[in-house]
């Protein structure tokens, strides 16, 4: 195998397996011709990486040529990925605001209203996710009981492993939650304190401390390890879950049910984003500047907006595929 062929093989790995099976050979020929004319090109490498990542997210790839219910399943998996990214950043922001709330109410009424609204919407999204998971878990169990679950073993194991690590780790590190202010619920293991502590520990990796290595190095070693490991666990859980959904081949009835839930969740995410923007604009002071808006918060809101666009597109395409 020539050096160019090796480069082409590396580039094509950006795309998912189904895409490679459909387009791999002809795309390799195109890349070889392109490399022969332009041996070094960062723009080509970036373009292939971007396009491959989009195909893996279900925004391109071969889903257009799949049967309608498979296409809907692929889009639903993309929607789950985008929704998870949204909720991860949303939970990180909410958990930080909840710490400030534990110490005292924010001075800006808009910030107080935003936190209350975000708490309700986070609870709604969590409930929707649990309801949405039930038919998926049932389908996995039914496939496994029928002896047809071999192709689900790896993705479902990935989902379980990532989920278990994320939950156990978040519960462990929740003990270090800084939200132990004067609120009467603190130390009483009542909501939202416990839930906020859990969300805070689960999203510890989303922090501006990464830009301040000096401060980061003063963190306890186990906490640093958790900040590096928790994103890996979360990515594994989400990727495993999405892959499981794609391989399950859910029935049209189940897909319609999941899409109905996704529509409610999308509406909740839009309002959640609006509430977050309201806090970004209103800000408001609090103890030790806990309600202040930083660059990391603006970046998180931008990531949430991008995830929402992806989720919306995936949901629309899934609806089209199901003829709704």
């Amino acid at each position: 195998m020539s050096v160019d062929e090796k480069r082409v093989r590396r580039l094509i790995r950006w795309y998912p397996r189904a895409w490679r099976q459909r387009y791999g050979d002809e795309f390799a020929e195109l890349l070889l011709a392109d490399i022969a004319e332009r041996p070094r090109s960062w723009s080509r490498a970036f373009d292939v990486a971007r396009s491959g990542a989009a195909a893996r997210l279900g925004l391109g790839g071969v889903v257009h040529s799949l049967p309608s219910h498979e296409r809907a399943g692929a889009r639903l998996a993309a929607l789950v990925c985008a929704g998870s990214v949204f909720m991860l950043f949303g939970a990180a922001i909410w958990a930080q605001l909840a710490i400030g709330w534990q110490w005292s109410r924010p001075s800006a009424p808009a910030t107080s209203a935003a936190i209350v609204l975000m708490s309700c919407l986070l609870g709604l999204c969590l409930a929707l996710a649990l309801v949405a998971a039930l038919p998926v878990v049932w389908a996995v169990a039914a496939r496994s009981a029928a002896g047809r679950g071999r192709d689900l073993v790896v993705p479902f194991a990935l989902f379980l492993a990532g989920g278990v690590v994320a939950v156990i780790g978040a519960r462990h590190f929740a003990a270090g939650w800084p939200g132990t202010g004067g609120h009467p619920w603190s130390h009483q293991h009542l909501l939202p304190g416990r839930l906020a502590a859990f969300a805070w520990a689960g999203t510890l990796s989303i922090t501006s401390y990464w830009a301040h290595p000096g401060a980061l190095l003063r963190f306890p070693a186990d906490e640093l390890l958790w900040m590096a490991a928790s994103p890996v666990a979360l990515v594994a859980a989400v990727a495993g879950g999405a892959r499981t959904i794609r391989r399950l081949g859910l029935s049209r009835r189940v897909l319609r049910f999941e899409l109905a839930l996704a529509r409610i969740a999308s509406g909740a995410m839009i309002v959640f984003l609006a509430a977050t923007c309201s806090w970004i604009v209103s800000g408001g002071t609090g103890p030790r500047n806990l309600f202040d808006v930083g660059a990391i918060d603006v970046a998180a809101v931008a990531a949430m907006a991008a995830a929402l666009v992806v989720a919306w597109r995936a949901g629309s395409d899934a609806s089209d595929a199901l003829g709704q």
Binding site: E26, E29, L30, D34, D47, V48, S51, A54, A55, H64
Partner: protein, 104 residues
């Protein structure tokens, strides 16, 4: 089938295929020649996939690894509609330019 709006990369690809079936590299070189636009490989195949899904182009069987694509009747109709609209805009723009700024 409902009329499909096309633009940008899709219009370039359909215009190239209006001449006859072409594979990926032939499309790249042809578009570079007539439009002075070099479509990157990932972008080209994203568009090919989308156009195939919309039924505007179709893949042909191939003896070697390079698969040619050809325009469908729906693709030809969509391209004609698009180019007609573009020509109307171009005609109006050019005539107004001539009236106010003179000919180059």
């Amino acid at each position: 089938m409902a009329k499909r709006e096309i633009a940008g990369t899709a219009a370039l690809i359909l215009s190239s295929l209006a001449e006859g079936a072409k594979h990926g590299w032939a499309l790249t070189k042809d578009i570079e020649e007539f439009a002075a636009v070099r479509l990157a490989p990932g972008t080209l195949y994203e568009a090919l996939n989308r156009l195939e899904g919309l039924g505007l182009i179709e893949a042909l069987p191939s003896a070697d690894r390079r698969r040619p694509y050809q325009l469908t009747a729906a693709g030809a109709s969509a391209l004609r509609d698009h180019l007609t609209r573009e020509r109307q805009v171009a005609d109006v723009g050019l005539s107004r330019l001539s009236a106010k700024w003179g000919t180059a």
